[in-house]
Amino acid sequence: MPIYLDNNHLTRPDEQVVEAMKPFLGANFHDPLAPYTQANLSRRAYGDAMAKLYAGIHADKKDDIIITSGDTESNTWLFNSLYIHKILTGKGGAIIISERAPASIASMCAYLEKQGAKVFRLGVNNDGVIDPQDLLDYITPRTALVSIEMVDEESGAIQPIEEIAEICAQYEVPFHTDATQAIGKIPVDVQRAPITYMTFSAHTFHGPTGVGALYIRNGAKLEPMLMGSQTQMGGQRAGVLNLAGIVGMGKAMELAVDALEYDVEDMREVRDALEEKVRAIPDVQIITPWSLRVPNTLTFAVRGVSAAALLLELNRSAIAATSATLYPQGNWEHTPLIDAIGADPALRHTVITLALSRMNTEEEIEEIVQALEESIALLRDESPAYPETKTEEQA
């Protein structure tokens, strides 16, 4: 049986999500905003799904959750709006993001820098976590926005966004967090911290692909990017609503929040058992400490083994995993993890991520470990980078 371990990139839609979506891909296709009776079922489903999203992240009824096509659109929209209405007009100064920002934010900021915007990037410590105190070196009341991801996609490190949000609130600077990698893995509650904007996307919590959202706290400003009819999303984002997607995301959110009670703990146990066995392989370095990491992610460097080669070997054993340094598919828009945490540069291209979901089982562990051990031994045997680095260390 194929084993899927690329869940930080994309998760398999839950069967219940697929079932919930089906009617809205067929007979109940109507636009929920249409005034006629035929659209009643659509309208009700839309309302239910939105209620589940509000409840899932504990949003206040006065806040907005604007449906988008996913995290990339949400982030791009926010940064575009910020640039046009705050930076270009001189109302705001610099943007502060993380050195490990998601690709959409990192690319967007690199683009904005070319347009003349000032961007500061907060580094992470040896564990892959940002020190909130570092923010004090850069933040001023004129800062346009601080944006820090809730969880690092590659290392799974949980960032201290509550402290960061508090600092932003003290300076009255809007704070954005990308929670795409957090929902379904750790509790996400916009009431626990003064979060101004928050991005999330259904594809990482067993919902459908192509639907996500941007949470906007009541009173926070955002200019529309997709223009058109004023009826959809309160005039914030035009285009006929992707009802099946919204229903799917609502159901997925409900299941993800429920899963935090039991299923996520089961997933953590499977991950931990796997982690213990991976730790036993010689010269393997697990990147972020257990306690600072989401319960589904296991990211490690395998000295002397190219991540690209290891992934292909795993693929032969029908195991799908990933590496952010895989070329050309990887994410090279931000600082490589090994450089960010200040580890040995020889490990830069040896990091792979095994990202589990609540659908992975205990029975799969043995197969994964066996494939890993065999592949690593095989590749190290012919690797010119293995004995050499080892000798250096021993010397």
Partner: protein
């Protein structure tokens, strides 16, 4: 952009049969030790290229016969993309029984054609072409190191530190593949793939090399309306080589062979072209029949009806 680019083409299952098999089971994979080298009647020469930091490291092991400088056996070890296994494996095969000084003469085209399943489909997707460049650079540098050739300092300057790519490699790929875009340089070398900060430098090198190429083309260009018989022998040779490259060589290379031009002579109204068959073509039954007619026909059709091809 194109439909193919939109669909993306770096899927592991998309590689051809030959490349797939070489990735799975490279024949020349692994180190050679001193004892084995002695048994083969030569000296062991080891050359390491690249590093783990830059994502690719190749260790080349050659057993060289001291008296003749011939490579009796060639193997490699690799840290890097599995696709590089195919490129290095094929290069090791091509290196065998060649003299060390002949190694830099192995062309990108011949290596790439050897990796193809059929003459019309490229062996590797665009984004993996760099594996061939790296394999050839490593082998050429190894040959220089063996022969004690001093590299040109300017060419040795590392332009892309993240991928460890030198100026000479960038200049070579621009000329060899007639590149016009910085993105293409990245495909052929991996320079600028990770850290994009060297993009500007790559653009500068591209402009300088393109300007030089334009200058050179203006001086050696053969006017299209000159009849073949009135060309100088250098011009004739250049024309013949172009026709052979375009119409003949890939068929020979696909079957593990190749050819080279030894001499060109005017014999009355005829132009006699003396060629030597290489690799599998040498001794092949059709070398004096089908293959010969194909070569002669191509030259007659495209250049002059009085060309005669004489294999040595």
């Amino acid at each position: 952009m194109s439909q193919a680019q939109l669909l993306g083409s770096a899927h592991w299952d998309d590689y051809g049969f030959k490349v797939q098999s070489m990735i799975k089971k490279p024949i020349n994979y692994g180190a050679i030790d001193e004892d084995e080298a002695k048994q083969l009647g030569g000296d062991l020469f080891v050359y390491r290229w690249g590093s783990a930091e830059t994502s690719e490291m190749i260790a080349l092991y050659w057993v060289v016969e001291a008296a003749t400088g011939t490579i009796k056996m060639s193997r490699f070890e690799l840290f890097g993309s599995p696709v590089a296994r195919a490129a290095n494996d094929m290069l090791c095969m091509l290196s065998r029984n060649k003299k060390v000084e002949e190694i830099p003469e192995i062309t990108y085209k011949s290596l790439e054609y050897f990796l193809r399943d059929n003459p019309t489909t490229e062996a590797l997707p665009e984004v993996k072409q760099y594996t061939i460049t790296h394999a050839m650079t490593a082998a050429a540098e190894a040959a220089d190191a063996y022969l004690g050739n001093k590299p040109d300092e300017e060419g040795e300057a590392v332009i892309c530190t993240d991928a460890g790519i030198k100026r000479k490699t960038i200049e070579q790929v621009i000329r060899l593949h007639d590149l016009t875009d910085v993105r293409q340089i990245t495909h052929y070398t991996k320079a600028g793939a990770f850290d994009h900060s060297c993009t500007e430098k790559l653009g500068d090198i591209l402009r300088v090399v393109r300007a030089k190429m334009a200058e050179e083309a203006a001086t050696v260009e053969v006017p299209d309306d000159t009849p073949f018989t009135q060309m100088t022998s250098e011009q004739q040779l250049a024309k013949i080589n172009t026709v052979i490259d375009e119409h003949i060589r890939h068929f020979l290379v696909m079957d593990g062979g190749d050819m080279e031009i030894v001499d060109i002579k005017q014999n009355g109204e005829h132009t006699d072209l003396y060629i030597r068959y290489l690799g599998a073509c040498n001794g092949c039954a059709s070398a004096s029949t089908g293959t010969l007619f194909a070569i002669e026909n191509a030259l007659k059709t495209h250049l002059d009806k009085n060309i005669r091809v004489l294999p040595l």
